[in-house]
């Protein structure tokens, strides 16, 4: 065994984040450690590198060969040489002022590696010419490859990859994972993306609230998983095929000081019985796998309903929109003649990778950006030529759900006044505000209790925040809702819940919804029509079902393949 963890426990000031984990990683094996945010997987990875804050205490043992990593204080000759990390977010992990070659040389000198910088680059599939590049000259995927090369410099026995694909496009994500899996190094990949990792890992360890729920060879996981949480994670990942249902796990992961007795997943589990609440299940052998569950049935989770596409009156009509961004040195064509129609009661997905112009288009329809040319009509009224008060009056009929639930809510306002904000700015009479605010809150699937309405955003979970955002967008009774990557920063288990809410709103209120996303799977599952955008041009559009089964553009086919794991 290269790495063997025995009863590894990590706690922060008495609150246990990782609870007695035992796990082995064999020589050359790639193990994926999977779970939602707050489940303890990052704490575990950091403990193995000695990167925990001073407030954390580690007990139990974590042996890497002969070296004990748990509770170690002297990390010289261990970090970098025996165990190395591929950090999350390669955008900031590289020095912006040194050439790639110099950074590799530094790593080699520090950790006594014997390779040449060019060899390292070759191992990660980059040409030696890149030694002379600076970090900003590389794409996100190339930077992540350089980060991997840096981790390899000290010839470590164990590589720990912490969310190595965050912020990368779907196609690049697969390339980076394939590269990592092909290195032949013993590896622990920490990620929230179970479905994405399955084809590349040898074994998967699913973690929930500080404990292991299931450990199973990756090859048999899709067919034979036995823990309800694993089933939940799998169904919560949208597959670009309308026949595979997309479900959500109700609720959210428990906070460290509110861990339930017994099985920690029980409050969210469809199979939970009174036994689950009383007795915590042990991790027991289950064929080739280990599972911690009292049950052996397959759970059923709530599924996102698919619309049957009722065509209402057109609400949005975008015709021939061009947009150019000008800076001093160059001009960027963000949109090159885009047409788009959205009808009442339908959800249209705008799919594209970063830089495809999808956010620019959303901002033009919102009236935040004036296009270089082209027309945007909202309910028959021209938007692009309006200014001042006339523009604002039209904007008040559009709801906007921002991408970042942590930044989109004023941190000093309570839920009630956040949701009532559009009512104040549209000048709704004071006596109607409270009723309409409560109406919007319940339509967004939130509790309408006084206690909840008095909370600050800091007291809400990510999913709740995004629902408050939706409630705020609904309050002024819009005819169009624009959701800009509304689910991208949420945990995978809550995404389907948000999509279900949007569907209910479209059906019940006849709301037109523009769902901007980079995830084609999500679009296929939850939207009626899909528009695929690439470098400012619509490359394909059509009904979700048709597009998923028979893509006509090679780029769409490529995206579909990336979303069909």
């Amino acid at each position: 065994m290269t790495l063997s963890l025995r009863d590894l426990t990590i706690s922060y000031g008495g609150l246990t984040a990782v609870d007695a984990i035992s796990l082995d990683v064999a020589e050359g094996e790639v193990v994926a450690l999977v779970g939602e945010s707050g489940c303890g997987k990052t704490s575990l990875a950091r403990a193995l590198l000695g990167l925990l804050p001073r407030t954390a205490s580690v007990t139990g043992s974590a042996c890497l060969g002969e070296d004990e990593l748990a509770g170690r204080t002297d990390w010289k000759d261990i970090r970098g040489r025996r165990v190395a990390i591929v950090p999350q977010g390669a955008m900031t992990g590289l020095s912006p002022v040194h050439r790639i070659g110099a950074q590799l040389t530094e790593m080699l000198t520090l950790h006594g590696g014997h390779a040449e910088p060019a060899e390292l680059l070759e191992r990660v599939g980059l040409p030696p010419a890149m030694l002379r590049c600076y970090a900003h000259e590389l794409s996100g995927g190339q930077r992540q490859r350089v980060a991997i090369a840096l981790a390899l410099a000290g010839e470590p026995r164990l590589l720990i990859a912490d969310e190595p694909t965050t912020g990368l496009d779907a196609i690049t994500q697969r390339q980076v994972l394939a590269l990592l899996a092909g290195l032949g190094t013993t590896m622990l990949i920490v990620s929230h993306d179970l479905a994405g990792l399955m084809p590349y890992a040898d074994r998967v360890a699913v973690m929930y609230a500080g404990r292991l729920a299931e450990v199973r060879p990756a090859g048999t996981l899709a067919a034979e998983h036995a823990h309800p949480y694993t089933a939940g994670l799998l169904t919560a990942t949208p597959v670009a095929d309308r026949k595979v249902p997309w479900g959500s796990i109700p609720g959210s992961a428990p906070a460290l000081d509110l861990l339930p007795e017994g099985c920690r997943f029980a409050p969210r589990c469809p199979l939970a019985t009174s036994l689950c609440a009383e007795e915590a299940p042990q991790l027991r052998s289950h064929g080739t796998a280990q599972v911690a569950c009292h049950h052996h049935d397959k759970p059923t989770f709530p599924v996102v309903p698919q619309g049957d596409h009722p065509l209402g009156a057109p609400v949005v009509r975008v015709a021939g929109v061009h947009h150019r961004y000008r800076t001093r040195s160059r001009t960027v064509e963000a949109l090159r003649g885009v047409d788009l129609d959205i009808h009442a009661g339908e959800i249209v997905a705008l799919v594209g990778e970063s830089g495809s112009g999808k956010s620019t288009l959303a901002r033009i329809i919102l009236g935040l950006l004036r296009p270089s040319s082209g027309r945007v009509e909202i309910a028959g009224e021209e938007l692009t030529t309006r200014r001042g008060r006339a523009l604002r009056r039209l904007q008040q009929r559009i709801g906007f759900v921002h991408q970042d639930p942590y930044d989109a809510l004023h941190p000093g306002m309570r839920v009630a006044s956040l949701v009532a904000e559009p009512l104040v700015t549209t000048g709704t009479p004071r006596e109607h505000r409270a009723a309409r605010m409560r109406d919007a809150v319940s339509a967004a699937g939130l509790p309408v209790t006084d206690e909840f309405l008095q909370r600050f955003p800091g007291q809400l979970s990510g999913g709740q925040r995004q629902r408050v955002s939706i409630a705020r967008a609904l309050a002024a009774d819009p005819i169009l809702l624009i959701a800009d990557e509304a689910t991208s920063m949420l945990d995978v288990s809550t995404r389907a819940g948000i999509a279900t809410t949007l569907r209910t709103l479209a059906v019940e209120r006849g709301l037109a919804v523009l769902f901007v996303t980079h995830d084609l799977g999500e679009a296929v599952q939850s939207c009626d029509r899909i528009v695929v955008l690439r470098s400012g041009t619509v490359v394909e559009h059509g009904l979700s079902a048709d597009l998923a089964s028979a893509p006509s553009h090679p780029y769409t086919a490529q995206l579909l393949e990336a979303a069909q794991t």
């Binding site: 906070a255 009236g367 935040l368 904007q395 559009i398 004023h410 941190p411 600050f456 007291q459 967008a473």
Partner: protein, 283 residues
């Protein structure tokens, strides 16, 4: 986990509390000074060069004036000037920085180039020259100091406004058709308002130093008691050659140092808690 607690701000911390304590004591002394008779520190009450004794805890200067009274009255002069200058500068900087941040591009460019020109000028020399030619009345000194000190905070506040304007909740508010005044009052003030506190404190600190410098150079009003003026007479009389420096030169020097120290302690403590970049670095 974090999201269970309501947001609460502990603005000062131990370091800031010490600063606030010192400042409160000095403000108390200054307030006591307003109760003294009008001629306190100016009237001749003892023999010239009288050493400390009964009724004269700090002795008298070369004209027989009470040095303790000068110190107490000087506290009021220094602090009132510092706070008025700080308030004026903060308002000026907020206006210029805010206009440069959200105004049209030509306005922003004009204001920022003007700020750059002001930053290049050697401010102390400018201040001394202006004081020498325009006079030393209280109002003139306040105006000159405010006009000299605004550029740095204006730049800081412009950057803050630009950051604030790109925040998610401001963008959402703009997208839902909220008018500009609403954006500024409901959203902008929450993000920018806290930054005004360190600007205010730091400006007050610099105003105390600059004003004392001016008086020390003899460009202040030589008859109005202030810490800088006392030090000016110390210098002219060659007090450092005798043992009188202990009660004549040391108290006003220490008073200036303490005031600046108190303001600096408050300033850094508040800034560390409010400036996101510093908050990240000290974690």
């Amino acid at each position: 986990m974090m999201f269970l607690r309501a947001p609460r701000r502990n603005l000062l911390g131990t370091q800031g509390l010490i600063g606030a304590g010192i400042l409160a004591a000095i403000v108390g002394v200054a307030l006591y000074g307003t109760l003294l008779p009008d001629d306190a520190g100016r009237a001749r009450v003892a023999q010239p060069y009288a050493p400390p004794g009964a009724g004269l805890p700090l002795g008298a200067d070369d004209l027989g004036r009470n040095l303790l009274d000068q110190l107490i009255v000087g506290a009021g002069a220094s602090l009132s000037l510092a706070f008025i200058v700080a308030a004026a500068t903060t308002v000026l900087a907020a206006l210029v920085g805010g206009a440069a941040g959200i105004g049209p591009r030509w306005l922003s460019a004009t204001l920022m180039r003007g700020t750059d020109v002001m930053l290049v000028l050697p401010e102390l020399i400018l201040y001394i020259l202006a004081a020498a030619f325009l006079g030393q009345s209280f109002g003139t000194r306040v105006t000159i100091l405010a006009l000299i000190l605004w550029p740095v905070p204006a730049r800081v506040l412009r950057a803050a406004v630009l950051t604030a304007w790109s925040r998610g909740h401001l963008e959402v508010a703009r997208a839902m058709g909220a008018p500009r005044w609403w954006l500024l009052l409901r959203h902008g003030s929450y993000l920018i308002g806290p930054l005004l506190i360190p600007v205010f404190v730091r400006t007050a600190m610099r105003a105390v130093i600059y004003d004392a410098t001016l008086s020390f150079l003899g460009l202040g009003d030589p008859t109005a008691p202030s810490w800088g003026t006392t030090l000016f007479w110390v210098q002219t009389n060659g007090v450092f050659l005798s043992e009188a420096w202990l009660w004549w030169a040391l108290p006003p020097g220490a008073a200036i140092t303490l005031t600046v120290l108190a303001l600096a302690l408050i300033g850094t403590a508040v800034e560390e808690r409010l400036n996101p970049a510093l908050r990240e670095a000290t974690r």
